[in-house]
């Protein structure tokens, strides 16, 4: 027995000595490890993220990127839990509606202060200028836009033709959308159009209200405005389409996607991120998919609002900050966006690479459907993030009120004004 105990003790001692010696040898060139919290790591996008990390590693062998995968619904809970537990995230992917909250609670830092100004400016040069605004609050560049998309009008060209409509001239205004939808419904007995953004998040609703000349919040971000006239008019237009049968009574966009993918819905306004799977569904279902830009209200310009996320640096450690910057810089470089676009299905925010043979020229030729989305990037308007800790409730109030206004007998004006008052009471007090 004594022999066994002494053997174990000697073994432990030699192991710990070995650990010490290897530690002291490695300190000089020990790789910097950064934790990358991301939700774009589901089965369909995992390969793209793995490639981004592997390619980055080739040029940066001294930096290890560890993926912390959390779903987009849970990522804020996970980040908050880790910060509370003292596990500091290094790079986080945050959906833009939580931008203000991230700024105040996740220790997200202004890139202007974190990074060399010239280097930052040089990197930002290739970006679509409109896309850069989406990660800014009060002039602070909090992070870099990463995977995002815009609302696109997907339409089933085969159904349009069956209904006696010309698929080469898709609707450009909401009046036309209604007219087309009713004709599809009458001629093919399939549903005509679905606005796919009731409950997804409020970015589609923001786009709709802004397209009608309104806003969801004042520019100084103190007053909620989604109960004002432009919002009421926009939602009344959608309600009218439900009442006259142009739009089915579907609030769940996933159900809409299923109907559209099954060839049972003529048109759907939805995120461009879904394009790849829509193409596949159309191919296998034997119908032709096409896309058009977001419709406008008469002569007013349509205002596409981005959906999606940005990359932000949280770490306070100097070496990790440097590594984190190198990583997000690579991911949003020409090479990075080539992978993001071709493997993960999001548009390139660096437009020049579409024309470049080294990057996405071939992809753009093979994917003509991406055209409307790429054009909308030039005029994309930032998805506004509500201030304070109640941001999510304020966003939810807009979504719930919209569903109530459009799909029930409730008075649109009253519903939206009630929601606005309630939301205003949840805003931070000065």
């Amino acid at each position: 027995m004594k022999k066994i105990v002494s053997f174990i003790l000697v073994a432990c001692l030699s192991l710990s000595l070995a650990a010490c010696s290897s530690d002291s040898n490695d300190t000089a060139n020990k790789p910097v490890k950064i934790a990358f919290y991301t939700y774009n790591y589901m089965a369909q996008q995992k390969d793209g993220v793995d490639k981004l990390i592997a390619d980055f590693k080739k040029d940066n062998p001294d930096i290890d990127v560890e993926v912390v995968y959390v779903t987009s619904e849970e990522i804020n809970t996970k980040i908050q839990a880790d910060i509370a537990a003292g596990v500091e995230p290094d790079v986080i992917q945050v959906v833009f509606d939580a931008l203000d909250f991230a700024q105040n609670n996740y220790g997200v830092q202004d890139l202007n202060e974190l990074v060399d100004k010239t280097e930052l400016e040089e990197h930002l040069k290739g970006f679509e200028p409109a896309a850069l605004n989406v990660a800014k609050i009060d002039g602070k560049m909090l992070g870099l836009p990463y995977t995002f998309s815009t609302p696109v009008l997907f339409y089933n060209a085969t159904l349009l033709e069956e209904a006696g409509l010309d698929p080469d001239t898709p609707p450009t205004t909401w009046e036309e959308v209604e007219k087309y939808a009713l004709q599809i419904k009458e001629q093919t007995s399939n549903d005509g159009f679905l606005f796919g953004g009731y409950l997804l998040s409020d970015c589609f609703l923001q786009a709709l209200i802004k397209s009608n000349g309104g806003s969801i919040m004042s520019s100084d971000r103190t007053t909620i405005q989604y109960g004002e006239q432009p919002a009421i008019e926009a939602l009344s237009m959608l309600k009218n389409m439900v009442t006259n049968g142009a739009q089915p009574k579907i609030t769940d966009s996933m159900q809409g996607v299923e109907a559209f993918s099954g060839g049972k819905l003529g048109m759907m306004l939805y995120t461009s991120a879904l394009q790849a799977s829509m193409i596949k569904a159309a191919d296998e279902g034997g119908w032709e998919l096409r896309t058009a830009k977001m419709p406008a209200f008469g002569d007013k310009p349509a205002v596409p609002v981005n959906t999606g996320s940005g990359l932000f640096i949280c770490t306070k450690d100097k070496a990790k900050q440097e590594a984190a910057w190198k990583f997000i810089k690579y991911v949003t470089s020409d090479e990075g966006y080539t992978v993001i676009t071709s493997m993960m299905g999001y548009p390139p925010l660096r437009p020049a690479i579409i024309e470049d043979e080294r990057y996405l020229k071939k992809w753009a030729e093979e994917n003509p459907l991406a055209g409307p989305n790429l054009e909308q990037l030039k005029i994309v308007t930032p998805w506004q993030s509500y201030p304070g800790n109640n941001w999510y409730q304020i966003e939810q109030l807009l979504m719930d009120a919209s569903v109530k206004a459009v799909f029930t007998d409730a008075d649109v004006a009253q519903t939206m004004q009630d929601a606005q008052n309630q939301a205003q009471s949840l805003m931070p007090k000065k």
């Binding site: 939700y39 589901m42 849970e74 839990a81 997804l200 569904a281 191919d283 279902g285």
Partner: protein, 270 residues
């Protein structure tokens, strides 16, 4: 003859209810065999069955590994909960001691606290113990279950005192009384409770997601989530993965069918 005719409506109703219960499983299996173009159609049979969804699911998520993880997590958790519940319930029913009522009340009150409220404090503890990204971290906070304690408390409360007193007179130790007299007599209750606890452990998602970010340590629920996102779901692959991962639980159900039905009847459907 008349009595068998009378049975017809009863059987017809039961057949209908069975069909109703089996339909989701049937739909899961046929959806997993449908190509993408057909998956959103209401066809009851796939026109061109394909295994493409299975290949994709298995290639992208380590389904078998994750199912094994879930099996380990749910089993260890169930055993730990049963052991802690038996000991607590036995102590509370066997002896009169000061504070017994208070302890019982505290147990009962903790049942009212939702998991979400204690999730972050638990997570901080697990992290400080260095158990983040481990299966032990997923299991540890669930090694005691109030539901199990309260259930066994009522089972032991009605246990005949005379039997225990006889055992005391035979100079049996407390441990022997528990293992040789009490446990064999409450075995059906233990088994049915164990089944409920196992099903609960099998379905755990939110806590496992918070503790685990490494896929190789995660339960299958995290794996299934990889086919879902806010914007798009991969129904075919999800159904294939769900079909594969439900095989062990269906096998378990077939083996313990009678006991499971009894447990639901006994403890109420949770």
């Amino acid at each position: 003859m008349i009595s068998s005719i009378k049975q017809i409506p009863k059987h017809a109703l039961l057949i209908l209810l069975c069909a109703f219960a089996i339909f989701p499983l049937y739909w899961m299996v046929i959806s997993s065999l449908k190509p993408l173009g057909e998956i959103f159609t209401p066809s009851m049979f796939p026109s061109a069955p394909t295994l493409e969804n299975y290949t994709y699911a298995v290639n992208n998520v380590p389904i078998f590994r994750l199912t094994l993880n879930t099996l380990i997590i749910a089993s260890v958790q169930t055993v730990a909960q049963l052991v802690s519940a038996v000991m607590a319930a036995y102590a509370l029913t066997r002896w009169e001691f000061k504070g017994r009522g208070l302890i019982f009340t505290i147990f009962s009150l903790t049942w009212l606290v939702p998991m979400q409220a204690i999730m972050i404090p638990n997570y901080i503890t697990i992290t400080s113990l260095g158990l983040r990204n481990t299966m032990l971290g997923v299991i540890l906070p669930f090694t005691a279950s109030t539901f199990a304690i309260l259930s066994l408390y009522s089972a032991l409360k009605s246990f005949p005192k005379a039997l225990i007193e006889a055992a005391v007179m035979d100079k049996l130790s407390e441990f022997s009384i528990l293992t040789r007299i009490v446990l064999p007599n409450i075995k059906p209750a233990m088994v049915s409770l164990g089944i409920l606890l196992f099903i609960h452990g099998w379905n755990e998602y939110l806590w496992a997601m918070l503790v685990n970010t490494r896929i190789d340590q995660a339960p299958i629920q995290i794996g299934l989530q990889q086919f879902l996102s806010l914007e798009r779901n991969e129904w075919g692959a999800l159904m294939a993965a769900a079909t594969l991962s439900s095989i062990p639980i269906i096998a378990l159900y077939l083996a313990l069918q009678k006991m499971i039905i009894n447990s639901f009847v006994k403890w109420g459907i949770k």
